[in-house]
Symmetry: C2
Subunit: 365 residues, 2 copies
């Protein structure tokens, strides 16, 4: 077995999920991720955990959804019962075709999501980890050779997470006590928001692998200004590109997209919370040095920030602060590598992708 | 999609499991069976059922078992919770390599089986169906081309089950009221058993697909004589071949095997019931016209009987009769095509594979 796959599995089992003897573990993966599944099974056997394996097969999901009546989507009682008895969940991305469900009617996808909501909520109570296995389809999406893509993934994943965590802690120290944040990029993005009272967190690998961001939740009504998202995102098998949003009193009052604007609109119309920001994240994983059209990686990229419309992050919002509730959580990315800065409480903390605590930060610009 | 795959899926969903709207369905399959899984998902969507999909990946199971400590096998709480909420189970055979778990220590396989027992028992309370998708590995096991093997499987599976059921009912009529059965084949097999009070059943597709046998459970202490099993069987990734057993007062008092005798011995030593017969089955699916080293098919073959050491069949044993209890149920096959006969209450009901109610039955031999 490729030693990089084994290392990935061990990071997932030990660093991310801290798997213990007797833990009930659920793995969900496509057949393209077989190598990682075998490595995970071996690591879980060594630690005396008890895994079960769900096969992610989008081709079957598509056939099912197209045949299914929208009204017949009920919560899967057996899946709900299983997740209630589960300690650790590994969701392994990397399928055969990112567009596999692109011809499922959106109303059915949404009916499926609604029915899945109780299972999702229960899953959030486990030690869950999302990761990706590098597949040929993932490489194609990234416009890379499979070999180069594999190395890209393992550079981002198989690293010294203690060291990375210390690097990110410097940003947490700036953001956690802050009252306000301003994001400026080029002519098209100038957004302000309050973050006072919210908790800024260090994503060093307990939920996402690769990890590598610092994130918080904005005060819901405080967001003002305009933002243009430079990179496309995949949603229900559709690519949404060229999104711009205008916020007033925290709410999206105007929006546009160059591609699949109707999908964007249907997401923003899901519920009230879907028109407000739930997350501000700052990418800090320097081994992610290019966009690969996989949000798990793109949002961790060094010279980016991402904003999510929809649900806030539980751990970021203390009980006495307003929590933005929504069935949606859609991340979108702003490229901060050029003609850009992040201000915290009126002071620039990042300019053109370089943090204040890094070499090369230009204080004078 | 291959129309034969679709027909197989529809027989499974409608004829075998009688799937209804809202049914919670579990499918377990290997990636080699993807086509059947997609067809099942489409059929289940049309009927408004709610499937989940477990990936059977023997390579991972092997890696896990070899890494696992024997004492750490506990019942998987999440799998148990799931099966308790499940209405219908489809177990799809046809993996990449029938020998994949052949180098797992038997003690670990047995520890795994014991831990799985509560889940198995719960599964037996669902509408469960075992079937096989024709794969290249299955064809190799059968020593056939993949194309010819596919046609063999679909001939056995995609048929008029009402007609087949009527054909088999003739044998049920003979066996159900019977007191005793004698199986004679060549010089090496002459076995008698009582079946009085037991119920003979018509396997026309509610549990196995292909179906095609008539079966009952012998009175546990009544089995006497010798039997030689002409065909090998797979057990825990091992091929056991050339098995002979000698019964006295229902118990195996002598045994031998040409290949993997130690595996046979460990199975017979599992518990008291593993040394007694739990099932007598008579194969009646004439489209299964050759051995393919897959018990699901071999045991339904027209010119065979099979006997299982271990657990009796629940439905065959009324409450006032002794039930042979065991963690084991291992089917083995006697070729009845030549120099053979089956007697029921002293009368020959099959000679050289031809039933009394079929053309060509020789009453005089």
């Amino acid at each position: 077995m490729d030693e990089r796959v084994r290392q990935h599995a061990e990071i997932l089992v030990d660093h991310c999920a801290d798997v213990q003897r007797g833990d009930m573990v659920q793995i969900t993966a496509s057949k393209q991720a077989e190598d990682l599944v075998v490595a995970l099974y071996e690591a879980l056997g060594e630690r005396g955990a008890r895994p079960s394996l769900t096969w992610s097969l989008p081709k079957a999901s598509r056939a099912y959804a197209r045949a299914m009546d929208e009204d017949d989507y009920t919560t899967k009682a057996h899946d709900l019962a299983a997740i209630e008895e589960t300690d650790v969940v590994f969701l392994v991305g990397g399928g055969p075709n990112a567009f596999e469900t692109s011809d499922v009617p959106p109303a059915k996808s949404q009916a499926g999501s609604r029915a899945h909501q109780p299972i999702l909520e229960e899953r959030l109570g486990t030690r869950w980890v999302i990761t990706t296995h590098p597949t040929a389809a993932g490489a194609q999406q990234a416009e890379m050779s499979t070999g180069a893509y594999e190395q890209f993934v393992y550079d981002a994943v198989n690293k010294d997470w203690a060291e990375q965590s210390e690097f990110q802690a410097q940003m947490v120290e700036l953001l956690d006590p802050a009252e306000s944040v301003r994001i400026v990029s080029g002519e098209s993005t100038d957004l302000t928001m309050r973050v006072d009272g919210m908790q800024a967190l260090n994503d060093d690998g307990d939920r996402n692998m690769p990890a590598g961001e610092v994130f918080t939740s904005p005060v819901p009504d405080s967001v003002e200004g305009e933002v243009y998202f430079d990179k496309p995102l995949m949603r229900q098998g559709n690519e949404i590109d060229g999104v711009s949003l205008t916020f007033e009193d925290g709410e999206v009052v105007d929006f546009a997209a160059d591609q699949n604007e109707d999908v964007l609109e249907s997401i923003l119309d899901t519920d009230d919370g879907a028109r407000r920001l739930g997350e501000l994240g700052i990418g800090m994983n320097r081994d992610i040095d290019r966009f690969t059209y996989n949000m798990l990686f793109d949002e961790k990229m060094g010279d980016t920030v991402h904003l999510a419309v929809g649900a806030a992050i539980d751990e970021c919002v203390p009980e006495d602060r307003e929590f933005n509730d929504s069935a949606v959580h859609m991340d979108m990315i702003v490229d901060m590598s050029e003609d850009s800065f992040i201000e915290v409480d009126g002071e620039v903390v990042q300019r053109n992708g370089t943090f204040r605590f890094e070499d090369g930060f230009d204080t004078e610009q």
